[in-house]
């Protein structure tokens, strides 16, 4: 059974992967997209975001390339790999199963 920490880290991973499933983005854009799509509910801790991105890159779930951002600075844009896409689907199924389980416990008998 995954520990709560793992679950939380897995959640961040899932959020990142899911966000990148639509389009390649750089770090700040990922955090903003998550915030926006959650209606400002989910504030990604940026201190965990970048280590997570590098870890996922190392796992081979993300690849990155350098482009020039709208402000003219260098931007590292992350993109989902096919492997990452599969991982995303797996994580998503896991999440739904988790949520379903929790809901079931919480629902009135």
């Amino acid at each position: 059974m995954a520990s709560p920490d793992d679950r939380l880290q897995g959640t961040l991973d899932l959020l990142v992967l899911r966000t990148l499933a639509h389009e390649p983005l750089h770090g700040w854009a990922i955090s903003r997209r998550i915030r926006e799509r959650s209606g400002d509910v989910l504030q990604v801790n940026q201190g965990s975001l970048y280590p997570a991105l590098h870890r996922l890159e190392r796992e081979g779930w993300l690849t990155a390339e350098w482009t020039v951002a709208e402000t003219g600075r260098r931007a590292k844009v992350y993109r989902l790999t096919p492997q990452g896409r599969r991982a995303c689907e797996r994580e998503e199924r896991g999440w739904h199963a988790f949520v379903a389980a929790v809901s079931q416990v919480l629902s009135p008998a």
């Binding site: 750089h26 770090g27 700040w28 940026q46 201190g47 970048y50 280590p51 590098h54 951002a69």
Partner: protein
């Protein structure tokens, strides 16, 4: 948080230091990534109404601790690099395991080259370059006395001259003199002789060497009447006293007197070379007046700010002053200063550098071979790499894979080479101990490891890129290999011929089966008559031993092995030679009548010594042919009278005979003039008994010792040798270098053969199609054989030509090291050329046969 493998948290700190020192690209990328985030966040905040400054602050705060984020990322990335390296190496190992033959050949080739190079590096570094174990060793010089008129370049100094130098020169912060002197050590097993040196005050200040144990002499220990003390060198302490650390403070009986051990010097403190023990020099009053008794090696430390040339000028000035003050003795004297390192190793420097140069050639050869092998490998896996590239492996990734493979091979070879080299060096240390200075310093230390590592790395990384015009490069490699091998073989041939020429030189005496037993009789028999009597007794008893054909006494053995005084000054009666008081000197041996017979030294004219030539009869002398030629050219010296000062005042002697020359100073030097005196008329303290036997002289030693003990039980045997050994020792350095160079030449030929075989196999295989077509069109397989073989021999021919030209060029630079053979020696050149052409033909024959045996039909169908 992930669990940390670094509980002290040192790793991030180290990484940070590294990042500051070498900000890597990855670090810059990470900075940029975070910068971008902060600036976008701040821009967003400004849009929401904050002023830019506050926005920047808030953006930073929201981000959290930047350094912690960076550390977390670095940890992930670091793991990544290590992981990838491990993956690459594992992959490389797996790939190589599939090709064990290839891996073995590459490793073997590398080990041959690398192990020889590292061994020779160990030798050369240890002898020539390893730091001397003294403080500021470059400031130490030896100071020797020269005699301008006789062209004597270096020699020991006399005590009064040394004292004047020390008192009146301004160039040295310390100056000391050392005097050789034997010590009889009383041990439970009987008396033993050990080398010893008397050193004047300041000797250890000159060296600035700290003792390993205990201390060196204090100022008052150089005063008369103080406790007797001794300092041991490391060798003596470790071999004779089993490195007993409680020895310091103990008392030894030396020359029948108690002496307290006060210190032991560390290994490598060897001045003079192989010192034994040091004791304080306490001059006798009479010695302070003996300005012509030059026995002292003088060593000094240049004063701060004084250059060696400055010191030379100062000392020549002083020498001129002393020449005026003591015209009878010092008139002709000069002073020579030699840096300590040159003094110690100058004699072998040129030879060792030649050796080191040949290592360079060998390494080039190894590199060429390796390139050949790795080419073949690269070609073979072009297919594999193409597949991997098609599957998405990046160029970098593929390159890294090849690097990993090469590194793995080089790493294995590196480790094996270090083992091989340290084994080889241990053997060389044993052999070279008496033949090369500083032989004890030859070992695998950090410099040798670094040397090997750099070469291994260079070998691993150099042949990375298979070139485009492969075939051309391969042919160039064959040519280069043959050329390099020719240079080495011709060089070795020249040395072989030199040593053979040297060994063919007739030494002038018969060294076979002659045992030499050296004794110091002075302290036990202080009176001349007693010494002469003792020597006569011993000689008679030795002569009576079964198996001994001749026994005789001498005070000087050929080829060094000096025992007592070996020079005398002389004057020919009624004939002034040079200036009034600058009398010529000559190598002198006091011998018993049987000496010439024992060594088979022929009498040219006159008579040999007789038993009656003793103290009670007229004083006589015999001269060598070279002596006669120099002073009585074309005339017979027998009957001439000369005044000889040997170990005592001048004595008028009549020359009664002339004997054949002996190559006393070494086979490569012309015979020097020698003066022989009857031992009974000049019984000095140090004597050697030479015993000529029918066979195996060493077997006689036990009986000779027992015989000696019955005459005087406390007489120590100083040394035992055979004349064969002395002869071998005199040619030792030349033969040692020859042996190593010879081994190199063999290795070079093998490497070149392997290389040619490798390339020709490859070329032949690449030509399979062409060969098949030719066969199909009716060419005979003999013709194909000739085709492939012809190509190889052609390439070898070009290589040989280049090699010969290079050898001719390089030969000039080693000319000075050759003896009796020209650097352009046709025999060595022809032999080298013939050998390499033969090896090339043999190496190419197998591939050529294989090419000729191709099944044309099958090959064409494929």
């Amino acid at each position: 948080m992930r669990p940390s493998a670094d509980p002290l948290g040192l790793l991030p700190r180290l990484r940070r230091i590294r990042a500051i020192l070498f900000r890597s690209r990855a670090e810059r990328d990470l900075d940029d990534e975070i910068e971008l985030h902060l600036s976008l966040e701040a821009t967003e905040l400004v849009r929401q109404g904050l002023d830019p400054q506050a926005a920047a602050v808030v953006a930073r705060r929201r981000f959290g601790r930047i350094d912690m984020v960076k550390d977390a990322v670095r940890t992930i990335r670091g793991g990544e690099a290590v992981d990838e390296l491990r993956r690459d190496l594992v992959f490389a190992a797996r790939a190589l395991r599939r090709r064990p033959g290839f891996a073995a050949v590459v490793v073997l080739t590398l080990v041959i080259g690398l192990a020889s190079a590292t061994t020779i590096f160990g030798v050369v570094y240890g002898v020539l370059w390893a730091p001397l174990p003294y403080g500021e060793p470059d400031r130490i010089v030896t100071v020797s006395q020269t005699e301008r008129s006789r062209g004597r370049e270096q020699g020991p100094a006399s005590l009064p001259n040394f004292l004047d130098w020390r008192a009146r020169s301004r160039s040295f912060s310390a100056l000391a003199a050392i005097e050789p002197f034997g010590m009889r050590l009383t041990t439970p097993e009987g008396p033993e002789r050990i080398p010893a040196w008397r050193v004047t005050e300041g000797f250890f200040d000159v060296l600035r060497a700290r003792p390993l144990l205990g201390r060196t002499f204090s100022a008052d220990e150089y005063q008369r009447g103080r406790a007797r003390v001794v300092v041991l060198d490391y060798q003596t302490w470790s071999t004779r006293f089993n490195a007993d650390s409680s020895l310091v403070g103990k008392v030894l009986i030396m020359n029948d007197e108690p002496r307290q051990v006060i210190g032991v010097m560390p290994p490598g403190v060897e001045f003079p070379p192989r010192p034994g023990v040091w004791v304080p020099k306490i001059p006798e009053p009479a010695e302070l007046l003996e300005r012509n008794a030059a026995f002292y090696t003088v060593v000094g430390r240049l004063a701060p700010g004084v250059t060696i040339d400055g010191a030379r000028a100062d000392m020549s000035r002083l020498a001129a002053v002393l020449g005026q003050e003591y015209p009878t003795v010092d008139r002709d004297l000069g002073v020579a200063l030699t840096p300590l390192r040159t003094y110690l190793v100058g004699s072998v420097r040129a030879r060792l550098l030649v050796l080191f140069g040949s290592v360079g050639l060998l390494l080039l050869l190894t590199g060429a071979n390796l390139t050949t092998l790795l080419f073949a490998r690269a070609v073979e896996r072009e297919g594999e790499l193409a597949i991997r590239a098609a599957l998405g492996a990046g160029r970098w990734r593929i390159a890294r894979q090849i690097v990993a493979e090469h590194l793995l091979l080089a790493g294995v070879a590196f480790a094996l080479s270090l083992v091989a080299a340290s084994v080889a060096l241990r053997d060389i240390r044993g052999v070279a101990a008496g033949l090369l200075p500083r032989a004890g310093e030859m070992h695998i230390g950090l410099p040798a490891v670094l040397f090997a590592a750099v070469i291994a790395l260079a070998m691993a990384l150099a042949p990375l890129r298979p070139p485009h015009r492969r075939r051309r490069v391969q042919r160039t490699l064959v040519v280069a290999e043959v050329a390099l091998a020719v240079i080495l073989v011709v060089g070795a041939g020249l040395f072989v011929r030199s040593v053979r020429a040297l060994l063919r030189v007739d030494p002038g005496f018969t060294p076979e089966n002659v045992l030499a037993i050296t004794l110091q009789t002075e302290s036990l028999y202080p009176a001349d008559s007693l010494r002469a009597q003792f020597a006569r007794t011993v000689e008679a008893r030795f002569a009576a031993l079964p198996g001994v054909r001749f026994a005789a006494v001498t005070t000087a053995l050929p080829f060094g092995g000096d025992i007592g005084p070996v020079q005398s000054s002389f004057e020919i009666r009624d004939r002034p030679l040079g200036s009034a008081r600058a009398r010529p000197t000559v190598r002198t041996a006091a011998i018993s009548p049987g000496y010439f017979a024992a060594l088979h030294i022929g009498l040219r004219t006159g008579r040999a010594f007789l038993p009656t030539d003793d103290a009670t009869h007229p004083q006589v002398a015999i001269v060598s042919a070279a002596f006669a030629r120099q002073y009585w050219p074309g005339a017979n010296p027998v009957g001439q009278q000369i005044t000889v000062s040997f170990d005592s005042g001048p004595v008028l002697r009549e020359i009664v005979g002339v004997v054949a020359d002996v190559h006393d100073a070494g086979l490569d030097r012309p015979p020097t003039p020698v003066l022989y005196l009857p031992y009974a008329q000049a019984p000095t303290g140090g004597v050697a008994f030479v015993l000529e036997t029918g066979s195996s002289p060493r077997a006689l030693l036990g009986r000779a010792r027992r015989e000696l003990a019955t005459i005087n039980g406390s007489m120590p045997v100083a040394s035992v040798t055979t004349l064969d050994e002395l002869l071998a020792q005199s040619t030792g350095p030349a033969r040692t270098i020859l042996a190593v160079l010879g081994a190199f030449a063999v290795v070079a030929v093998v490497l070149a053969g392997l290389g040619i075989f490798g390339v020709m196999s490859h070329v032949a295989r690449a030509r399979t199609k062409e060969v098949s077509i030719r066969l199909a069109l009716g060419a005979s397989s003999r013709r194909i054989l000739g085709l492939v073989l012809g190509e190889a021999v052609g390439l070898a021919g070009v290589g040989t030509l280049i090699g010969v030209l290079a050898a001719l060029g390089l030969g000039r630079s080693i000319g000075a090291l050759l003896y009796g053979v020209s650097p352009l020696d046709p025999v060595a050149l022809t032999a080298g050329v013939a050998l390499l052409l033969a090896v090339a033909s043999v190496a190419a024959y197998v591939p050529a046969r294989r090419a000729a045996a191709v099944d044309a039909v099958r090959a064409l169908r494929q």
